[in-house]
Symmetry: C2
Subunit: 650 residues, 2 copies
């Protein structure tokens, strides 16, 4: 980066056609953020994920070359935005792949694995075209009556309530194109707490035939990211997609810190405005990428955890955090988008998936709906792994859910050299059974900086199968390796020597770290067991396991079973669903049946609170072992450990 | 009034305890208006109506003494505010009678004549008190679920939809008084166009027991005046009342000029804001007079003609005025009061009586409901006389309505010396059969200035019965009286000589005037006949005639029959209902049954457009005679005219 005095540089981003002025030497990714041009990065701007590729059309940058940019690309002017510094006025093209993360491109065709298999295409928003007879002296009924009569005559639709805004625009809309008009109706899912009693209402009227312009936005409101898709409800397809960070992030990384902030004076309003600003940014981007007009979005489906849902709707989150952990409401009514601050036409409503409890939110309901658990007799175990792991067990007849406070270990929290899954994180480890020397692999194959969740699971599984640690997580005492040593914190295993790392320190895993991860996996597994036992089920009997969330897709299932995080059942029963919450929001936008299913699922779900549950405490203690104190629960792991007795015999 | 230089005077009004500073010499009524203290006057400040009596407690005024102030009152310090000019600092008591006009004090007890006889007290807004069990770990359902469960358990109320604002305030409201709370529910009359399908919704929740604080405002939105009552829905009584002018008046006196103004750019918004400002002023005054808090008003019932309803709701009025005269909507949904600009708690909705057509509005439906026509087998004729006369005929089985463009003659418009009913208006006339000299009476017995509607009816009836004019409205040619003379406008009759008047001109009634009034009464009567014939009814068979409106109460029924305005049936079948529109709004606020009745009435009503109706034109031509070309329709008048042949024989 240049150190000389900094002149201004003008940077134009294509195809957005947005310009910004920044100081010479500014990071290009930062300049894009400043200009409101969103380029997704999954590595936090470390040059690792390679998602932020842009093409420099004009002007000069100083750029650190990484292996993510091929020779051919490099000669074409392709650079990683995060690794580029602006040296002159620039014109930069942001390619479409840079807008999108692959994780959201879950296929929605019926029949694909892990996605609700049987659903009709019958969106909860529909347009009807009408050609009405003009008013005459002998038939001078009100405009509204004429409209209702037309709906009745042409489509046999009767007695729908009408939103007030429709009435206000009716005289103009009917006459503008000579009594030809299009009516939009919406499934009013909150008419009643009784699902049988769903009904529809008229939310819009437009002059002429606008049936081919019917779009919805599906939005997963995550604590960290907002994942949005623009959906064409006429043809049942995804038009564009966008992931951005939830702008609330600067107010805390998890829901607990958000709740804490929302309790400060004005805090809830700030967080509400931030999530709305995030949604607006995502929708702006969806529209920009698709050349669709904002007025043609007629509905918004949102799924999120209970805290995110409360904040979006401006509901007090205080009692989510305080025992006995009550949410304000499960049955969240449709709310006008613009009343929340969302920039949308005045007829647009926001649907929120019905949460189950304070810690099992609408995102889980949406995911379970997408997974189609309610459509199958198969006994299914659904798991969303994260700081707060959510678990659902059930099938078409019954479902039971809970949330396990796994703690932050799976995201590297509370681990001596733990880190999130970014550049330099050790993500896979194998240990030579004879020498005990490790082979490590880091994200981006760069020098190691720490260990991420999947690396931790991997390391512990390897230490266990190679008998470096005992099943209680303690190191075997008789091992002869310089990698194993006693320090002030206890025994530890050295994964990388200081000289091999970016941090100039030995990267180790300590008995304390192993203990932490055992506690985290024990919480998840004990949650699963508690629910199972509650229903008289053996966790080995699961016919299907569905893993949702971003962690899910980088998880090594074999290793996760080895440490006792996942149940020891045939590996082909495991499926990754990707972002189940977003998939469910999309599917429910395509299918009223699935939307109604989601309400039914949420209402049928039995929720179990684990925080002062004795069974859970017993299961938890029993699971504080690798893989478990009850070896019958992990037959294949037990078998593997027995066969692998080389070290003992050595 | 003093002409000397004007020092400031401080005027305090009791019991309002409001002070204002004005210049010495200021009119006291004007000072009260400036201070926002509302003293009703029906004569426009002419010193005639005597309604603006105040008591001067302290200080000095210069006051014109009128006969409206008795000797006893005068010594007690009572003066007419409109006739008093401020000479010093003052303390003035505004007595309660000065706040109110008598016209609105219609009794609402069941069984009184002309008021809906049979109704249950079951208001469309109800409060329910709940004592809920606090949330525990074993029962940590959401706050909303707890509330709904409580309603179900205590009152067997299930599955009500909930307004979003209720959910937002729920956590605080439930916990503030230890899980004791009061829920307000509202009849959601617009859920469906099918009246059978009425349902309720939850609109408010308050901490503790607030059941005794449940009020509604009933408002008649007239083209000229806003009549409002504050109603106690716990005890079924009127708490306070207020009439003020509709602030739209400066934009035209009738609905047609208002519609014209509303079509100008920004015009609808201006008129909407003016009617809302009027409603706000009326409600402010109701609250001030009653010591009731605004938050305790939970509902607003409004009735008005179709144009006033459209303007209040911001609906385009254009097509009300253009053939074929279509209103935007009959089924007007409940609208949040504050979304219209009405200052009310955020849970308050505005109910609008369902209009029937562009010229038969919710005010007529309200009046018909109040009159209880729908509860009786009696064949009833309901008439609201004004610039636009509205007519309803029917009983509990059927109803038919229309509006007759009577023109402004009944309000003095288009009449050479016509005027509205104010000081100096000739309101009653008798003519000596021998000398043809008139005896006139003016409002306030002051020198005549012109003739008002009732005076016109009276004069023509007298001229007819005394054979001064023929039944076609033309003057008999052989009459020998200096009162009857031919001028450039044709023959005329002198009611008052110039020297006797305030205007220094002879006050006359011309053949043209008589012609105008004949046309006006012919329109009303032809409307009545057209509807009757439509139903195969003879207008002599009416078992009950109900007259609504302010004109109604000063009408001489005998004379109105004589000229052929009202049907010639026994006089004891006529009833005045006063302000039927306001009465209906009040009654429907006390009784959901009547509210539902009003919807049923509006939907069952057959409306007949007269503007290009041949039957009407024939009836109209036939009615252009005094009393009518068909003398069988006016047997008692025919008899009277035959008996009264003195002049012919003279």
């Amino acid at each position: 980066m240049s150190d000389q005095i900094n002149p201004d540089c003008k940077v134009r981003f294509e195809p957005h056609n947005i310009e910004t002025i920044v100081k010479k030497g500014t990071n290009l990714l930062w300049a894009a953020m400043k200009a409101g041009v969103h380029i997704n990065v999954s590595c936090g701007g470390e040059g690792i994920c390679g998602l932020c590729k842009v093409k420099i059309n004009d002007g000069e940058v100083e750029s650190i070359r990484t292996e993510k940019v091929s020779d051919k690309e490099y000669t074409q002017g392709v650079r990683l935005a995060c690794q580029s510094y602006i040296l002159s006025d620039l014109t930069v093209t942001v390619p479409i792949e840079s807008h999108l993360l692959k994780a959201i491109q879950t296929p929605e065709k019926p029949g694909l694995p892990g996605i609700s298999a049987a659903w009709r295409f019958n969106p909860p928003v529909i347009k009807f075209y009408l050609e009405l007879s003009p008013a005459t002296m002998s038939d001078n009924a009100s405009d509204l009556f004429r409209l209702m009569h037309g709906l009745q005559k042409s489509y046999n639709i009767e007695n729908l309530p009408v939103d007030f805004q429709v009435i206000q625009k009716l005289p103009g809309a009917l006459r503008e194109k000579d009594w030809k008009a299009t009516v939009t109706i919406l499934l009013d899912s909150d008419k009643s707490t009784d699902n049988e009693n769903n009904s529809w209402k008229i939310i819009n009227v437009e002059a002429g035939d606008t049936r081919d312009k019917l779009y919805a936005a599906a939005i997963d409101i995550g604590t960290t990211t907002i994942c949005a898709q623009l959906l064409d409800l006429t043809h049942g397809r995804i038009v564009s997609e966008k992931i951005i960070f939830n702008k609330q992030i600067s107010y805390g990384l998890d829901v607990i810190t958000r709740i804490a902030y929302s309790q400060k004076p004005g805090g809830l309003k700030i967080l509400q405005e931030l999530v709305v600003a995030s949604i607006n940014e995502a929708i702006d981007s969806l529209l920009k990428n698709s050349n669709i007009e904002r007025k043609d979005i007629s509905h918004i489906m949102t799924a999120g955890n209970t805290t995110m849902q409360h904040i979006l709707l401006g509901l007090d989150t205080k009692y989510i955090r305080l025992s006995p952990y009550t949410p304000v409401a499960n049955d969240l009514p449709l709310v006008k988008a613009n009343s929340l601050g969302i920039q949308a036409a005045d007829h647009v409503h926001v649907f929120n998936f019905r949460p189950i409890s304070s810690y099992v939110g609408g995102d889980i309901v949406s995911g379970v709906t997408a997974a189609g658990i309610h459509q199958q007799k198969k006994l299914t175990f659904y798991m969303d792994i994260g700081t707060n792991g959510e678990i659902v067990i059930g099938n078409s007849d019954w479902m039971i859910s809970t949330s396990c406070s796994a703690g932050p270990a799976f995201e590297g929290g509370g681990i001596k050299h733990g880190m999130v899954a970014m550049s330099g994180a050790i993500q896979s480890v194998s240990i030579d059974p004879l020498t005990l020397e490790p082979t490590i692999r880091t994200i981006n194959d760069s020098k190691p900086r720490g260990i991420c969740g999947s690396g931790l699971i991997n390391t512990i599984a390897e230490l266990l199968t190679n008998k470096v640690i005992e099943q209680n997580g303690k190191f075997h005492s008789h091992l002869n390796s310089k990698r194993i040593r006693e320090k002030e914190d206890g025994v530890e295993y050295v994964l990388a020597w200081a000289k091999e790392t970016q941090i100039d320190k030995d990267i180790v895993i300590t008995e304390l770290d192993i203990d932490n991860l055992i506690r985290a996996k024990a919480a998840m597994y004990a949650g699963c067991r508690t629910l199972s036992r509650n229903m008289g089920i053996n966790s080995l009997d699961f016919e299907q396991v569905i893993l949702s969330g971003n962690f899910g897709s980088s998880l090594d299932i074999e290793q996760a079973i080895t440490i006792g995080l996942l149940p020891d059942i045939p590996r082909d029963r495991f499926q990754f669903i990707g972002n189940g919450s977003l998939s469910g929001a999309r599917l429910a936008a395509f299918s009223s049946d699935l939307l109604n299913d989601s309400l039914r699922i949420s209402r049928m779900m039995t929720n179990v609170e684990l925080s002062d549950n004795n069974d859970f405490m017993n299961e938890y203690v029993a699971a504080l072992f690798l893989p478990h104190t009850d070896e019958k629960q992990f037959p294949s792991v037990t078998e593997k450990l027995k066969n692998n007795i080389a070290r003992d015999k050595k």
